[in-house]
Amino acid sequence: MRLAVAGKGGSGKSVVTGTLARILARRGHKVLALDSDTLEGLAFSLGATVPDSPPLLAAAARGEDDRWRFVPGIGPVRAVQRFSTSAPDGIRLLQIGKTTTGGQAPVMAATQAFHKTIHGLDRARTFDDWVLLGDLSAGPRQAAYDWAPYARRILLVVEPTRQSMMTARRIRTIAAQTRPGTAFSLVVNKATHDEDPGMIAAFLDLKPLGVVPVDEAVRASERAGIALIDHAPDAPALGAIERLADALERSTVEP
């Protein structure tokens, strides 16, 4: 299962990604979570910690020709093995690293190493039986710059707002050109009215693979900065993401 999760900022990408990762890991899958967002999100929703500086900083260096390369002895597999961190339920988490107030330059080595790693995952047989689950930054930016090359399927997380629906449509249009052959699935999040899933499905011409209801428990866990699965094990939203995991496990778009 190789997925990336995309959508408008605030639509719930990280909550869906982090919770899905935890559920799949508890079902026995080996899960590699790929956090390509330089803003806070996935680590909170997984219940993992964010290191003070990105571990991947040590994985790449700039040569005299100004090109970035992995440091000697490191390739995509080694980068994951050595520089991913542990998250609950046995998940491995590879983080691009958070942008510092010093700008992009201090974290550039990590950014480059992350980019090289995700572009090398397809050739690495080591992860053939893993679930790769990526959380993209808000909007269409990372879809346009090919930041989910591993993804066979992009989950578009959409809430019932016009801007969220428009953003998903834009992402889909661009991602389909970046990586032809990518499958797209709709996850309706924060559904409040009965007609929400149908409204969004009609707008995007995609059937919802999952429908997650608006849920006070999610709000409370976001407020507290605690993973939903730890904060509210009985939350209706959690049940909905479990059903999404069922649907993904049944799905047949895998190569």
Binding site: E40, F44, T99, Q163, M166, R223, A224
Partner: protein, 247 residues
């Protein structure tokens, strides 16, 4: 006066920017709304409608696709690529990502270069930034007079706001924290505790009218200009506009 709106994705930057621009326009100011998000949506919050907003071209893409030499002045961009929104607001989209590999976003026409060149002279500029702090660390003192850092009572948005505040305070004269979607009594206190008491805080209550506007893709101020959330933004507009009298 130049106002910049920053914060994590989904905290309400665009709703704040759009409503603020409309309120300033209504109060008689000449307002230029700059959509500096590569996923531009400010047109929706200004009340131009979702489909119209989807048709707007970015200055950058306009220049790239043009076959003739354009006047490369910022006034020229505003004239050529701008679009009129209600209450006399003029909307300009800086850059729109609409295809794979759109090139380097900080070269050429960038949000911060447009902010820099848009001269005040009686015009109030409201710049709605892309989610996060990417644009913030390229800002200079000349680019903005006020930065509004939007935050909601969630741990993630507070962490982003913390860095945005640090950057903004180093670069811009006035920084205001806008605490959005405040519902419980201790929401604001939680944010204040986390970000520090030294900042100036403005509160916007959770408001069903804004939720309904988001749903419909309309401007909240058009649905109910006396809704509590809208009124809080109008009050902020009045306060900010006190700096410069209407033209």
């Amino acid at each position: 006066m130049k106002i910049i709106v920053a914060g994590k994705g989904g905290v309400g930057k665009t709703t704040l920017s759009g409503t603020l621009a409309r309120a300033l326009g209504r109060a008689g100011h000449r307002v230029l709304a700059l959509d500096a998000d590569t996923n531009p949506m400010l047109g929706v919050s200004l009340g131009l409608g979702a489909e119209n907003t989807d048709l707007l071209q970015g200055v950058r893409q306009g220049l790239e696709s043009g076959t003739t030499e354009h006047e490369r002045s910022t006034e020229g961009f505003v004239e050529r690529f701008g679009r009129d929104a209600p209450d006399g607001v003029r909307l300009v989209v800086a850059t729109r990502i609409d295809r794979p590999n759109p090139g380097c976003m900080c070269c050429g026409v960038s949000p911060e270069s447009l902010m820099r060149e848009l001269e005040g002279n009686g015009v109030v500029v409201v710049g709605d930034l892309e989610a996060g702090i990417g644009t913030m660390w390229r800002l200079n003192e000349a680019d903005a007079d006020v930065v509004l850092v939007v935050v909601q009572p969630t741990a993630k948005s507070i962490e982003v706001a913390r860095r945005a505040l640090e950057l903004a305070s180093e670069r811009v004269r006035e920084v205001i924290v806008v605490a959005n979607r405040i519902r419980e009594d201790d929401d604001l206190e939680m944010i204040r505790e986390a970000l520090g008491h030294e900042y100036d805080y403005v509160l916007i209550p959770e408001d069903a009218v804004i939720g309904e506007a988001d749903r419909r893709g309309e401007a909240a101020i058009d649905i109910d200009d006396h809704a509590p959330g809208v009124l809080a933004i109008v009050a902020l507009a009045d306060r900010l506009a006190g700096v410069s009298a209407p033209a």
